[in-house]
Structures are given as C-alpha cells and as structure tokens.
C-alpha cells in the first residue's frame, strides 16, 4: 500500500518536474496572455482582466508554473556545483511569484481626488458597493455591488438580506446611466423648487433650482450664476444685496439679528434674547444613538446647536436649515424665540453676472439681477414672464414653481465610445420589510432616505473607500506646458501631509515619477482636471503593495541566475568541459568554451 502511494507520488513529482510540463506551461501562458491583450484591444482593460488575468484558472496556471519551477529544482537533488545558475534562476522565479501572490492577497490600490484646498483622509477603491444604514440603530452594512459582468435581471436578480430583516433585490442594471431629474409635487416634502429658463438669440437653457437641496441650489448657466435660497423677509434680501460679504455660509437668524455661525462658534454673543453660545455646526447632520453628528463635510443637511440664557433661564436649541418649521427647542417647553439657520452658498455673488431668487418666510418670491458687477432692484417673481437680464440679449423667466417638491431621478442608458469613461452605473433596487415594499432606481454616487415598516433607512450606492490613516491637503496643483504650446510637460501636486497620531505635518511635492511614500502607502500623481475660475483637481493614485520587496528580490535573484547560467557556466563545469574537449572540439570545430547543456 505504502509503496503504491510512493509510486503515485513519484509519478506526480516526475510529471511536475518534467521539462515537457515546463514547455507546455510556458507556451500556454504565452497563448493566454496573447489572447488577453487581443481582448483588451477589442473590448477594454476591464474585460481582459475579468475574463483572463483575474480568473481562478489563470492563477492556477501560474500556480502550476510555480510547482513546475520548484519541482524541477528539487528533482536535481543532490545539487552539484554546475546547478548553481539554474537553481538561482528558479529560486528567483519562485520568490517573484510569491511576491505577486502576496500583492494579490494583501495589496490594493485606490484613488484620491482632491480639489485645491481640500483635505483627504480616505482613498476610494474602484469597487462599487451598496450601503445600507439603519438611521435608528446607527448600524451600517455594505454589500459588494459590481455588476458589469453579471448584470442582475428579472430572471436572475441579485438579492441580499441586510440589517436584520430588510430584503434587498436588484433586478435591473444600467452600466452607464445618464441621470436626469424629474420634479413631482409631494405634500410630505418641505422642499421648494422652481424651474428657471434663460433664453437669448444664441442659446436657451432650463434648469431646476431647489432652495434646500444645497447641491442643486445654484447653477452656472453659461452667462451667469443662478441661485435660489430661503430668506426671512424682503428687508433681509435688500441687505444681503448691499453687503454680499456678510451673507455667505451658515448664518443664524435670531430675533431679527444675523449671526454668522463659523466666526462665532464657542463664543458668547450678546443678543436681544439673551446671551447666545453657538456650540456646534454640522454640515451634514445626522441623528444617531449618541446624538447629533456630521456624516461628512458635504453641505447636505446643515444644522447648528446653541444655548441661550434669557431672563427666563436657559434654553438649548437645535436648528436645521432644511427644516425651518421643525421645533428647535428640546423637550416639551415652548420657546419664545424662533431661531432659523440659513446656509447661503459661497459663490452666489462671485461672478460678474448673477441672479438670486429669494423665497421669503411668507411664501412670496423675489428676484434681483446682477449685471456687470452691480446688483439691480428687487422685484417679485411673476411666473412665465420673461424679464431682460442685461447679460447680452438674454431673458429670464420662472417656468414652474413647486413649493413642495420631490426629486425623482430618471436613469437612461447611454452609449460610451471605446476607451472613454462613461457615466456611472445605476441599479433598480427593491427593498421589502415584512409586507411593505419600495422600488426605486439609484445611480452610483447617490444616496436616498427610505422609510419602511416604521424604520428609517439610508441607502447609498457608491465606491468602496478606505481611510489611509493620515491626511493630505492639496495646496496647489501645477501643470507645466512645453513652451509655446498647450502640451503638458509636467503635473505636480503640492500637498501638506498631516498625521495626527505621529504629530507630523510637512509640505510635500508629488509629481510624475516622483511619488510620496508615507506609512505603508505610496501616493502617485495620476491625473488632473483643470477648472478655470475655480480650484483645480488633482487625481492621486494610492497604492499599498506588501509584495513589492519580494518581487524586487525575486527579479534580482532571477536575473543574476540567468547571467550565471549563460555566461559563467564555464566556471562551474570546467571539469566536464575538459573531459569533453578532446572529443567534442575536434569533431565539430566549435570553440572549446562551449558548454554542453545536455548529457546524452
């Protein structure tokens, strides 16, 4: 029995160490790789990766190569002097493959896109994920959601159960989806919207503006910047136009007084209602178990907390800019003051031509036009009436007003030319909890609040991200061009590296062929986007490759092995050569130093 096993083992080892297998593996590897590059040429890189380079069978082929390399080296046991070159080469290949394996298992790479002035702490990894957040429990679950090569369909849906009992199902998928918004009246919403139209002899444009959706509050439409915002009354509007600098960012309105939030945080401010202490500002507030916190620095749901000490004692308020009608004071106590938070966009006054539409507390709407640096008078909005703007021959009109608007996103498939990056994907998601069910489309990069079965969820579809453990602030992005042309000659990002744990803060330059190494990461200049009139964007690649040392070591060992084997063999096989000299060289006319590779 034992000898039988030994025989089989011997046979397998013999096969694994054979030259025949070596040549078969080498040739099939070459053929597979050739097919991979052709598929990349016909389709794209992702396709080649998915069907060739990232498959289990390709890994298996490399594994077979490693086994072959190892076994053939072992099969020469006991090793002789003349084996040195061969052994070193094969050892190098093994170390190189081991390094690649480590990279495959442990390594990852991602991106960091920073605008000038922005600080980044996380890298995004190019793997789409679905995020399910239970707003009541503060619990987050993520599911991988890469569907390009196995798109879910009605007959083959993707399903998952998340957050104890929530059933998620995806039954449709658009790989490249253009996003359009549709505005629908909805009494449950507190979200004023209006559609403005700018038309002139050269062009006509329409755009929806939302007073409380901060990313859709203002738009740059060719000739001018249009902004739609909440304001308490007409007097405030006039004051805002007179002193634009004071009306930017979050401002607390208290008893007729305007108090800029950022400048007065944690400072006692005397007001008519008493002494005010602004405690915290949250740009994207969210309530969880521990109270209020900000999810990120995006301006999505601004809120402010403060205390006020009046003659009747102290009060603690939480004010949301988005929900002006919500009671702001804690407990059942009815406050006398009615604070409101206004979060005014930074750039409403920045361009030479601008339009501001203000929605007052009483529901009336007024507009003012800035033409060539000067603001004009304030007028009431009359629907569908065209008004000359003074920006060339453009006219503006409000086409539609929806005081309580719900935004529905509509996704449509768009063709993407080869080699171009199209818009991101969208999925049709059905959530069900018990007998309740909700179905909606969601595009990558979006999130959505869903109330289902008495629970509040937040659903997001986006790229995976990973904290890098330190911060990078992009101070300046510079694009060098060749003289007299627009052709780039260099890309450089001047960054400040901040590590709060190790108390490091210093200035660094990241450029092509000049990466920044910090911690376990290497950060490279990958790409950029110039943004005339605004901050430029720098695209940095972030990579963690724990296998790199092994790969370099293996490469070095392998190359030295080949050199030893090919050019220094006479050093190791002198004896054999000498013995053969007489018979071989005289017979063939070959120079005497020719090594004989194979003994017959």
């Amino acid at each position: 029995m034992k000898s039988q096993l030994y025989k089989i083992g011997r046979k397998i080892f013999g096969f694994l160490s054979s030259l025949k297998l070596a040549v078969i593996v080498i040739l099939s590897l070459a053929a597979v790789l050739a097919a991979g590059t052709v598929s990349e040429s016909i389709y794209d890189t992702e396709t080649a990766k998915h069907y060739v380079y990232d498959t289990w069978w390709f890994a298996a082929l490399l594994g077979l190569l490693a086994a072959n390399v190892l076994c053939s080296a072992l099969s020469r046991w006991p090793w002789k002097r003349h084996h040195i070159g061969f052994l070193v080469t094969h050892l190098g290949i093994l170390v190189l493959l081991a390094g690649s394996f480590v990279t495959l298992l442990e390594g990852y790479e991602g991106q960091m896109i920073l605008a000038e002035g922005e600080t980044g702490k996380k890298m995004t990894i190019k793997e789409a994920q679905l995020f399910f957040y239970d707003a009541d429990l503060g619990k987050l679950e993520q599911k991988p959601a890469e569907f390009r090569f196995n798109p879910p369909s009605a007959s083959r849906p993707w399903t998952a159960e998340v957050l104890s009992g929530l059933q998620a199902k995806i039954d449709d998928y658009i790989p490249n989806a253009s996003e359009e918004i549709r505005v629908e009246p909805d009494n449950a919403m507190d979200n004023p919207a209006l559609k403005v139209k700018i038309s002139g002899s050269r062009a006509a444009m329409e755009e929806w503006l939302f007073a409380r959706e901060y990313d859709r509050q203002s738009v740059n439409l060719g000739p001018a910047t249009l902004t739609y915002l909440d304001l308490p009354d007409l007097a405030s509007f006039r004051r805002m136009l007179q002193k634009p600098a004071e009306f930017s960012g979050p401002i607390l309105r208290l008893d007729g007084q305007w108090i800029p939030v950022q400048a007065n945080l944690q400072k006692p401010v005397a007001t008519r209602a008493g002494e005010l202490l602004l405690q915290n500002y949250f740009s994207n507030a969210m309530v969880d178990q521990n109270g209020l916190r900000s999810i990120d620095s995006e301006r999505v749901n601004p809120a402010v907390t403060f205390t006020i000490k009046g003659p009747d004692g102290g009060e603690r308020h939480t004010v949301f800019a988005k929900f002006p009608t919500m009671p702001t004071v804690h407990g059942e106590y009815q406050s006398k003051i009615r604070p409101r938070l206004f979060d005014i966009p930074q750039d409403w006054d920045a361009s030479r031509n601008a339009l501001v539409i203000a929605r007052l507390e009483n529901g009336q709407q007024f507009y003012a036009i800035k033409s060539g640096d000067a603001w004009g008078e304030v007028f009431p909005i009359v629907s569908e009436k065209s008004v000359p703007t003074g920006w060339m021959d453009f006219q503006f009109s409000v086409e539609q007003v929806v005081p309580q608007a719900r935004i529905e996103k509509v996704y449509r498939k768009v063709p993407v030319p080869k080699g171009k990056e199209g818009p991101p994907s969208a999925v049709r998601l059905t959530l069900s909890l018990g007998s309740e069910k909700k179905e909606f489309w969601i595009g990558r990069g979006n999130s959505r609040d869903v109330d289902l079965g008495g629970r509040r969820f937040k659903i997001a579809y986006g790229l995976k991200s990973k904290p890098i453990g330190f911060e990078l602030r992009l101070d300046d992005f510079r694009l060098g061009t060749y003289e007299g042309t627009q052709n780039p000659s260099s890309y450089e990002s001047q960054v400040t590296l901040i590590d709060r744990v190790d108390q490091v803060q210093n200035s660094q330059l990241i450029a092509m062929n000049r990466p920044l190494e910090y911690g376990k990461y290497k950060i490279f200049q990958a790409s950029y986007q110039l943004n005339p009139g605004g901050p430029d964007y720098s695209v940095l690649a972030v990579a963690y490759d724990p296998g790199i040392f092994l790969k370099y070591l293996g490469s070095l060992v392998m190359c030295s092995g080949i050199v030893l084997m090919f050019f220094f063999k006479p050093l190791f096989v002198q004896k054999r050569i000498a013995a053969r000299k007489a018979q071989a060289s005289s017979a063939t006319g070959l120079p005497p130093e020719i090594p004989m590779e194979k003994t017959p």
Binding site: A48, S100, E109, E483, P488, N513, I548, E597
Partner: protein, 567 residues
C-alpha cells in the same frame, strides 16, 4: 484675410502683387543666399529649433518630401510667404491616397492637389466635419478618415505658413514667442515702426526688407537684410534672455545636413557586400576592408545619435524612429562583440544586413517613423529610467534580431548547402548565444519596466499590453531554450525558432503600438506601416515554410540526428 497682412506690409515697399493667374509654379531664385536664415531660432512644437529644421519638417509635412521642386526648404518657405497666390493654385499638397480622392472627388495632379482647390472642395470640408467630430469624441478613424485629417493638417499648415501665423520667430519674455502675423499686425506700416524704434520694430522692418528683397529678386539686399534680421532676433533673444546658443543651432543644422544615418546605412550596405564576398575569396584583405567599413559606419551611426541626444537632451529611444535606429546600433554592437570573440564573419554579415535594412526603413518612411524631435509626455521625462529601461529592452530586440539574421543564414544553409554540417553547427551555436544575450536583456528590461511603472504609475505589474507582450516574447524564447535543453529542438529547430519567435518581438515592439493600440504606453501609439510589416512577416514565413519542407525532404526521420548537433 489675415494672410494678406504680409502683402499689405510688402505694399509699403511699393511692390505690386504679381497677378500671375497662369499656372506657373514659382522656381528657386538663383543666387539667393539663405544660409543665414537657417540659423535663426524658431519656437515650435514645444521647443526652440533652427529655422532649418522647421523648414525641413514643414515642407516634408506639406509636400511629402524635403526637397520640393528643386527648392531648398528654407527658400520654399520664403517663396510661400511672398508668393502665396501663385503657390496656392499649384498642386503641392501630398494627396496620393486614391480611396480618399474617390471619396470626395479631389482634383489631383500626379498625386497632389492645390491648396486653393482643396479649400474650395465642399465635399471634402463636409467630410472633414464628420472626421473632426469623431476625433473630438475620441473615436478611432478609418484609413480614409486618417488620410483626410492629415491632408487637412497639410492644408492648414500651408496657410498658416503663408499668413505667418505659425512662424513664431520673435522672442518674447514669458514663454510664448510671437508670430510674424502678430508682428505685422502691430507694425502695419513704416510710421508705426518709426514711432517706437524698439528692437521689435527693427525686426519688423528687417523682416519686411528681406521678404521684399526676396520677392524682387534682389540678392544683395536680401543678403544684407537677412543678416540684419538674424542679428536683431539674436538681440531680442538676449533682451528676453531666451535664445538658444549659436552652437546648439549649428549642431542641429549639422545633423539635418549630414544625415548621418543615411551615410551609415550606405556604409553598412558596403560592409555587408565586402564581408559577404570575403566568404568566398581567399585571403584576409577583403574581410579586413569590410570590417573597417563596418567600424566606420558604426562610428557615423554613433555620431548621429550622440548629436541627436545632445539636441533633444535625452537618450534617443523615445519614439519608434529612434528605437529603430537604436536597435540597428545594438545589432551592430553585438555583431562586433561576437565577431571579436569568434571571428565568425557571419555575425558581421548578418549585423550589417539588418542594420542596413532598419536604417533604410527609418530613412524612407517619415510619415510613419517621424524623425522630428518632439517633446515628451510627462511620464517619460525621466532620463534615468528612459536610459535603463528602454535602452535595455531595445538592446534585447537587437540581440534577437541578430539571432534572426543568423537564423536566416542557417536556414539558407539547410536549403542550399545542407552538407556543410560543421558550418551549420557553428551558425546554430552563434544564434544560440545571441538568444541568450537577448533573454538576459529582455528579462532585465521587462523587470526594470516594472520598477519604473512602480515609480510612476504605482504598480509593478498591471497586465498592460506592452508589458504583456514583452513577457510573451520572453516566454517564447524561454520555450525554445528549454526545448533545446530537452533535446527536442536540434539545430534546425533552433534556427526555425529564432526566426518564428522574432515575430513575438515584432509584436511587442511594433504591434502593440501600431496594431493593438491600447494600454498605458499610449505615447508610442501610431498607425501605418502595417503593409510593409505584413510583407516582411509574409516573406519570412514563406522562407521558413520552404526551409521546413526542404529539411523534411532531405532529412528523413532516421537521418535527423546527423544534422542536429549531438549534445
């Protein structure tokens, strides 16, 4: 309209515009000395170069050849400037691509079309609209569309030369030099020049003076004016502290004039012939003469790219043209080394033949292998990595090419002189040595590429087609070496393998950039030459098939061991 500016300028010297409506092509003007203007610097294509280079490149782009109608390129530019109306009616644009002529109905004379005719061709302009929208979307163009786009470029180039808009000759502080057209707008007449007699105003005057002198065929005045113009431009360049030294300019003119790579291939061809003859002639004289010529050719070859390197400030391996020249250098280098070691003659023959072939290719298809020294994309701007990665990998191509050359000779012996066993054995041993050198360099070069990629793109290996094909070529040669070691590939198999696996090198070298056209090595992408390459590959394949058939017929299985070197 702007292109008339120069004519208005000329007007102040009261020259009548020749209303030559008859189709007579302007001819070179004897006695016009344009040497001085060659050394004037122009800022174009992202660097400063002598006007000589600019003129050669431009004339080559527009007309398809460097010397058009007997004109010196520099003089031709002057002629275009001063006699635009005559020139635009002449068939000068290279429009030899027949399918395009048929597609849009071009009025072609001997494969050429007149700029005015092309500009007036509605069908062509319409066709170009779809082409440029395709280009903007980044979609790939068909062959006809590519030719249309290139013809459009020629047309634009002609008119921007004629208007002076692309003649950015006037040094300015702040990087962007000013064009002749702009200068003419600022100094529309003599009083504007006299109002503020700055260097620039003087330049404007000298410029108009020289153009007028050229137009009026006044050789003496032209000589004076062009000298004055050169000195004034130098003065202006000194003022803005941005002008190349006379030494640099002259060096580049020397390269343009000497055409060292052309001399080199002529000499390589001669060396090939001499050493080849020495195979049959007794005595060493012919062989030594051949080797001397080979060495001399090698010297000129080296001198050529040392000049080129000094001009471009980087190792000369940044585009297809340079890599072809560099590989030719590598082939001769290895051939000389092996020749020194083995005195085999065959290395010299194969090396000289291959070097001649490559340099002829580099010299004869400027539209595919563009010899212009262009700026590099940012990622390539690292002389350190360019030197160690690209030089290593292209040297490996050279070693494999030498193996290919020797392999072909060996196949020839199998076909025509199969009884010369010793000779064949020696040949096969030589090609084996070349392959070994190639394998070492290719392995090292591919890995160095990974190390560079790790420093610039952030990963050691990313399955980029260029990397992958280098690996495939390496695997191909490794399969052969293992097959030889196992005894499966004897002499004939090895010779066959050296030829067949060189196709993998061609794919890695040319195919990835010109056929696949994907991946991160996109700075080397181009098109064209597929037919020539297919021809070469086809011939090699036929030759190999013929050799294999012949081998089969001659050596029946029983006789086989007699030829393969019993190792």
């Amino acid at each position: 309209m702007k292109r008339l500016a120069i004519f208005l300028l000329l007007g102040i010297f009261s020259i009548g515009i020749s209303a030559n409506l008859k189709a007579a092509m302007p001819a070179p003007k004897p006695g016009m000395e344009v040497e001085v203007l060659r050394e004037v610097a122009i800022q174009e294509g992202g660097r400063k170069k002598p006007f000589d280079t600019f003129a050669r490149e431009t004339v080559r782009s527009v007309t398809g050849r460097e010397k058009f109608n007997g004109f010196d390129p520099v003089e031709l530019i002057l002629s275009w400037l001063t006699q635009t109306q005559d020139w635009e009616k002449q068939p000068i644009l290279d429009a030899g691509f027949k399918p395009l002529q048929a597609q849009v109905g071009l009025k072609v004379v001997d494969g050429r079309i007149a700029p005015a005719d092309l500009a007036a061709n509605q069908e062509f302009q319409l066709f170009m609209q779809t082409v440029s929208s395709k280009q903007q979307d980044g979609r790939s163009l068909s062959e006809i569309e590519r030719h249309a786009a290139s013809l459009m470029k020629q047309l634009n180039l002609f008119y921007t030369i004629a208007s002076g808009a692309s003649l950015t000759l006037i040094p300015q502080s702040g990087g962007h030099w000013e064009s002749l057209e702009k200068l003419a707008e600022r100094y529309p007449n003599l009083s504007a020049m006299q109002a503020a007699p700055t260097t620039e105003a003087k330049i404007a005057a000298a410029l108009q003076g020289s153009l007028a002198a050229y137009f009026q065929n006044d050789t003496a005045l032209f000589g004076q004016m062009s000298l004055m113009l050169r000195d004034l431009l130098l003065e202006q360049g000194t003022i803005v502290k941005d002008y190349p030294s006379a030494k640099d300019l002259q060096r580049e003119i020397r390269l343009n004039r000497l055409k060292p790579f052309r001399i080199a291939w002529l000499a390589y061809a001669l060396a090939f012939f001499l050493v080849l003859c020495s195979l049959w002639v007794r005595g060493k004289a012919l062989y030594l003469a051949g080797m001397a010529v080979l060495l001399a050719a090698f010297g000129v070859h080296i001198y050529g790219f040392v000049l080129r390197s000094m001009i471009s400030g980087r190792p000369p391996v940044t585009n297809m043209y340079e890599s072809v020249i560099w590989v030719a250098f590598g082939i001769v280098l290895f051939a000389l080394i092996f020749e020194a070691v083995y005195r085999a003659k065959i290395y010299a023959v194969a090396g000289a033949a291959l070097a001649t072939l490559l340099l002829v290719v580099a010299d004869s298809v400027p539209s595919i292998l563009d010899p212009a020294i262009d700026p590099l994309v940012p990622v390539l701007r690292s002389n350190y990595w360019l030197t160690i990665h690209v030089l290593t990998i292209t040297l490996s191509y050279a070693a494999f090419a030498l193996a290919l050359g020797v392999g072909n000779v060996s196949l020839g012996y199998y076909i025509f002189k199969p009884q010369a066993k010793d000779r064949i054995d020696r040949l096969n041993y030589f090609l084996y040595r070349s392959m070994q050198v190639g394998v070492v360099l290719l392995a090292a070069g591919t890995i160095l590429g990974g190390v560079w990629a790790n420093a610039s793109w952030g990963r050691f290996w990313g399955w980029d087609p260029k990397e992958v094909w280098a690996l495939i070529a390496l695997l191909g040669y490794l399969a052969i070496l293992h097959g030889r070691y196992a005894g499966w590939l004897r002499g004939f198999g090895l010779a066959l393998g050296s030829v067949v696996s060189f196709l993998l090198v061609l794919m890695a070298w040319y195919g990835v950039n010109f056929i696949l056209g994907v991946g991160l090595h996109s700075y080397g992408f181009s098109s064209g030459g597929a037919r020539g390459m297919a021809f070469f590959v086809g011939i090699e394949m036929l030759w190999v098939a013929f050799a294999a058939l012949r081998y089969k017929m001659l050596f029946k299985p029983a006789a086989q061991p007699a030829v393969g070197r019993a190792g």
